[in-house]
Symmetry: C2
């Protein structure tokens, strides 16, 4: 392989290991080689070389995915193609409210470069210091700003993709409106590399929201949190940029990870909401936040609350949200979910699903938090940390089964924002109606007839050999 | 056919004519029959019956399309399937910010029903009193609110589609976030019925923007209009809902159609902008408009302007925009275009394209107007009305060729919001890169292997017989 592609592109032996271990470190596999192209043409050559050798390809960005979409599962037949060297920002055009960036650019580096031009790229997620924009596109990443700006799909204007035959789909237009028939780029967004390798992306930018108001609120129930969301959606119009809910346990977990975190609210409440309103220009965001909270506190919908009076304080409020995740990790292996249900049924779902878990696993603890406005809840389940690993795993499996049974009665999704990858493949396929499965199979067979692209991911259609 | 499907579903003979004439009345063809199903199962039966008889299908909504996407072109081999009887609104759920509606529901009737629940469906276009929501989805319709709310694609949460084999794709979820792999519904949005027949749609709703501020502004150039847009995008944040530009001729044309229309601005300016800001709740929209205009007028970016002081006045300002279209129609046959270019190059493009037309057609008049924030311009060309039809047609063709030559140098789109249909097919295919054409052909062949769905539209792939 080094002969065809040049030694510079090919890694083999021990150095491939870090590309074959998932983000959580739960799974370590191997690969025939790791290819690290520097250009789109390199990627094309890599795809052709792999096809010629009968090897299949696992495309990889920052390797921060949570569903094993970029982790090989057939070490002797798969090659990882890492985009980590294609990091160039090809263009930032503030006048056009757009930018063109290569797939391997780290999200936060891109966001920073955009900010230096006075503009804003809204995608925001925990992994943004490590994840790469091509991976964000391939997984249609979500995050905390989806409420206002949509998933990654809604931020993408165009794509450059190397197709399974090595040809290059050249679609880096920045047109806002281009209604020329079927929109092919949509196929590759969320396909997790099963139809091609995204090598560059053109995206929408917005003006930098230079006013941000952040508040942490205590409420009497999750139902109240949902009522508050509806109210905020109307009262704060399209200026709300985050509405996250957390249980009381969030604070306990956050302080297990970050012991000196100061409690922002004195009382104990059944539900907490992290609310962010933001904007630019002539809109007075601080005033809007104050008037909104004044009204809903007077009505009793919000029991207590604190508005951050500085960027540092706002950062501290978000630290609870982030620390909560670290705290869960510290308690040992646990079930992480990424579910969505219709917004109007979120509180009922959380109640029913937590009850279902408590019924079968009385010694486990549920932590439900997430993005209210998207109907997206991460309902995680923590087994006691001192159990043997096999018993922990059995509880994780049991908890997932109990939650998914409830989820199915709500017509919910087992993956709101993380994708399918290999981790959720079985749960995905089980729930896939025959008509969809046939369409997806026809599509995959039409675009990747030799099944070279990320076999094992999503549908798991294999080359018949 | 009446035997298989029941006489109630089938129209034949003279009564098919109105389904075989396009919106402008330019083209009248015919069809073997018109089928008017009442249910999704009826549509499925219709598709199967047509396939069995070797007939192909032209799906039709309100028949208001502008590119002959729903007009048959092979009268002896095509059947029109009209969705006009599937008009039911299945559900409006204000708490879920969603609704489910059948494809044949007229857009304005749906919008009114949504408004009665205190909610808002943002899609807004000239034909909304006649067009049907399934057609809006199939053409990915645009309109005046795209700037704030996106094209139809961004409003769709789920679809029900009858596929070319008669099977039913059942995807009317209202989940805001559902990241389970490849998003199949995207294929059908903008496909103009070439991959299946959309029978129902689930859509996003937003709170009703009960505050609307509308202003008509006079500016010294289109460049200033674009600078003003950039400024408004930042100063008015995400609260701008329309930013339309018009040439001085707009007023002349509007008054040719509506003679008693009062001139809202006294002076003569080179460019006019119709600006709308809107919102709900605690945001003070009127105040925002006043402060914004105060600032930009003081700076000289806007020369003159009037803010509507009532809904009636706002309606009058919009009448200029609508009357301008009627006025063009009154001047006789003319070139209508629907182009987009990168936002940062819109003014240059209009200048270059108008010059190219003037060079080859000195006796024609250009009318350029459109949606600045989307880079979308309708650059129409009016030949002298007293010429013989053949000479008018020759000028229309010549104007289109001159404009498209300029457009290609700007990497623009020949269809920003209207679709391809049959009218733009040749211009579309000529510009289609080989990689895209191959992908589209593979896709069509995979999903509609017998080419039963809307042949002649977009790619014009035919059954090989």
């Amino acid at each position: 392989m080094a002969r065809e592609l040049g030694a510079d592109m090919v890694l083999a032996g021990e150095s491939v290991e870090r590309y074959c271990r998932d983000w959580h470190g739960d799974v370590t596999t191997g690969a025939v080689a790791v290819l690290r192209p520097r250009t789109t043409e390199d990627v094309s050559a890599a795809v052709k070389a792999c096809a010629a050798l009968g090897l299949s390809i696992v495309p990889q960005g920052g390797n921060t995915g949570l569903v094993l979409g970029a982790t090989p599962d057939q070490p002797t037949r798969q090659v990882v193609v890492s985009l980590e060297r294609m990091t160039r920002i090809r263009r930032i055009d503030a006048d056009d409210f757009s930018a063109v960036v290569e797939a391997g650019c780290i999200l936060s580096e891109f966001k920073d470069a955009v900010a230096r031009e006075g503009m804003f790229f809204p995608l925001a997620l925990g992994a943004q210091g490590s994840c790469r924009i091509g991976g964000n596109v391939s997984t249609n990443a979500g995050g905390i700003n989806v409420l206002r700006y949509g998933m990654t799909r809604e931020l993408v204007l165009g794509l450059e993709v190397v197709l399974p035959d090595g040809s290059i789909f050249d679609g880096l237009s920045t047109l806002r409106k281009d209604n020329r028939g079927i929109d092919l780029k949509q196929l590759f967004i969320g396909a997790e590399g099963t139809l091609g390798i995204v090598t560059a992306v053109s995206v929408k930018l917005t003006p930098e929201p230079d006013q941000v108001a952040t508040a942490l609120l205590g409420l009497n129930s999750l139902d109240d949190a949902i009522a508050l969301f509806r109210r905020a959606r109307r009262d704060c119009c399209d200026l709300m940029s985050a509405f996250e809910f957390m249980p009381p346990l969030a604070f306990v977990l956050a302080r297990e990870a970050i012991p000196d975190l100061a409690m922002p609210i004195a009382g104990d409440y059944r539900a907490y909401v992290l609310l962010e309103i933001s904007g630019s220009g002539l809109v007075d965001i601080a005033d809007l936040m104050e008037r909104f909270l004044g009204a809903v506190m007077e009505e009793g919908l919000v029991a207590d609350g604190v508005i951050a009076s500085s960027q540092g304080q706002a950062r501290n409020l978000w630290l609870f949200r982030e620390g909560m995740n670290e705290g869960q990790a510290k308690r040992g292996p646990h079930l992480r979910t990424d579910l969505s249900v219709p917004l109007s049924r979120l509180a009922d779902f959380v109640r029913d699903a937590e009850k279902a878990v408590a019924d079968v696993l009385p010694d486990c603890v549920c932590v439900s938090y997430g993005h209210v406005g998207d109907g997206n809840v991460h309902l995680n389940v923590l087994p006691p940390g001192d159990l043997p690993r096999a018993e922990i795993d059995a509880r994780i499996y049991k908890a997932k089964t109990a939650i998914n049974e409830v989820l199915d009665t709500y017509q919910g999704s087992i993956s709101a924002e993380h994708g399918i990858g290999r981790l959720k493949r079985a749960d995905y396929i089980t729930r896939l109606p025959a008509v969809r499965r046939e369409l997806l199979t026809a599509l995959k067979s039409a675009i990747d007839p030799t099944f070279v692209m990320n076999p094992g991911c999503q549908l798991n259609i294999e080359r018949s050999s």
